[in-house]
Structure formats: C-alpha cells, structure tokens
C-alpha cells in the first residue's frame, strides 16, 4: 500500500487545477467537523490511530509528540516506511527550520523567497527518499508539507499555488505508473486565502485508486478502512 500524505491538499484546489492523478478513481472531502482546530499534528495523529487526539496533544509540545507503532495502523503491516510523518517520524530539524524562517519572515528578517527555497529543498529531499522506498516495503507512507508550507505565506498567489499543485500531481502520476498497489492520497485539512496568505480550513481531501465507496469519511475512519484493505490483500 502507498499513502501519499499531503499536508493542506485542498479538495477545491485539486478540482480547480484538474489534478486527475491526485483524484484517482474515487475522491472526496473528509469530515473534520469533530475538531475544534485544524492542527497538523493532531489530525495526522488521529489519522494514524483512528481516534480524535485533539485533547491529548498540547499545542506547545505538539511537534515533538510521537506515537508508538503499535498505537497506529502501521502495526497492520509487516514492513513499512513512514517518511517524515507528523506524530510519528517527523524530521524535526527540517520542520523546525521552516518554522524559524516563518517567524523571521513576519519579523522582516528573511524574504518569502528564502522561506520558499527551504521548503522546496525539504520537499525535494522527501521526494527522493519516497521514490527510493517504493516497492521495498508493504507500506510506504510519504509526507509532503509543500502545499501547507508554501500556502501559509502565498495561498493568495495563484501562480505559486498552481506550481505546488502541479508538483504534487506529478508525484501522484509517477507513483501511479511505478506501482500496482492500493494508493491512498490524503490530506489533514484544506486551505483558504487570507490576502496573500493562507489559513487552514476543513476542506480536507482523500482519494483511492479503486472504488471504496466512501461518503464524507472522518479522518479517523481510515484506520479501519486500511485494516480492511490489508485483510482483503492477505486473503486475496
């Protein structure tokens, strides 16, 4: 199984840019109504564990919050690669650097271009490691924060966001052509413009490369959906 975990991939933006490879065979919006705030670590932790983790993850220490494999759906797989996954294997240094630059941007110490450059460099690193892992594990889950990190400072700039969505569409297309396996594309939340900036929304996204028959699924439901898909795979 392949999971493309795309931070802030917005269902309306996927449709706007006609990203067919991201849409796959079945796609839709996720139901995040049970969450007070669309916090990245909380949502990925809830996706991984199948339960709402909002009350258990304080905002002050959220980036360091780490689940054990047995608390997550990773336990359903004999071998897995969880690349840069929030609440599990987050690359602390890379993300801390992005947050430091974000703060420096608002303090007028760095330009948006300097911030973007770091985000894209981290993205390219994850992309390289993700494609190296394909075909070598029962599950490869790759996390990419490009749409979120670029979006926070530039969601209101269509040219930049189109480039981001084209890049993510390219990854999905390459995955599709590389493996014959279940592919889940999922985001934690969506995004909306605030002037030139972007802010989290509840327009989360999911898609499968086969018909699963979901209708506005909660992000916590994917725990059991993944378990069932693994069982079907083993029995088949």
């Amino acid at each position: 199984m392949i999971i493309l975990a795309l931070d802030a991939l917005d269902v309306r933006m996927v449709e706007k840019y006609g990203c067919r490879s991201l849409m796959q065979v079945e796609y839709g919006q996720t139901d995040l109504s049970e969450f007070e705030l669309e916090r990245t670590v909380v949502l990925w932790a809830s996706f991984l564990t199948g339960r709402n983790m909002e009350a258990e993850i304080p905002v002050e220490t959220q980036w360091e919050f780490t689940l054990k494999p047995e608390e997550t759906f990773l336990k359903f797989f004999e071998t897995y690669k969880a690349l840069d996954v929030p609440a599990f294997s987050l690359k602390q240094e890379n993300h801390k650097r992005e947050r430091v630059l974000l703060k420096k941007y608002f303090d007028d110490e760095v330009s948006v271009e300097e911030y973007d450059e770091t985000v894209w460099r981290n993205h390219e690193e994850n992309k390289r490691e993700f494609f190296e892992a394909l075909g070598r594990f029962d599950l490869v889950m790759g996390y990419f924060d490009l749409a979120d990190a670029i979006g926070h400072l530039s969601f209101g700039i269509p040219a930049k966001m189109e480039a981001v969505y084209r890049e993510l569409e390219g990854i999905a297309k390459e995955v599709k052509s590389s493996v014959d396996d279940v592919i889940l594309v999922i985001s934690d939340h969506g995004m909306k413009p605030v002037g030139r900036y972007g802010d989290h929304t509840k327009n989360g996204f999911y898609s499968f490369n086969r018909r699963v028959g979901l209708n506005l699924p909660k992000i916590t439901e994917f725990f059991n959906i993944i378990r069932r898909l693994v069982q079907v795979e083993r029995s088949g």
């Binding site: 608002f106 926070h152 002037g195 030139r196 900036y197």
Partner: protein, 72 residues
C-alpha cells in the same frame, strides 16, 4: 481594429545583437527584434503580481492563527 501606436525605447546594442541571434534561431517564429521584444515584454506583464496584497489587520489575524496552530 485600431492601429497600434509605437514609441522608441533605447536598449544596449549588446542586448540587441543577442536578440538578433535569438530571432535567427527561432526559424521564423519571430519576424524581427521588435517582434521578439514585444512578445517577451507581454509575457512578463501578464504574470500575476507578487506584491503584498494584504492589510495589517489580515497580517495580524494570520499571525494569531499561526500561533494557535502552533507554527509561531
């Protein structure tokens, strides 16, 4: 269709000569240096502006949200 009006602009000769080479290499896509320059400038001008288009209130609101989401 109204006839286009033109103005003269001075550019360094070295750039003019480079554009002449580009025009020759384009194999007819560009008919002249003027044609090439007009195309390039049109492309640049139609790009979306990346100037800041936010208000101080929007910036304060986004910073508040970024803090509540744990980014700042």
């Amino acid at each position: 269709m109204p006839k286009k009006e033109y103005v003269n602009i001075r550019i360094p000769k070295s750039i003019y000569e480079k554009i002449e080479e580009e025009v020759r290499a384009s194999q007819g896509e560009f008919k002249s240096v003027e044609d090439y320059v007009e195309f390039v400038l049109n492309e640049i001008l139609k790009e979306e502006p990346e100037e800041t288009v936010y208000t101080p209130e929007e910036e304060e609101e986004i910073k508040r949200r970024l803090r509540s989401l744990g980014y700042l």
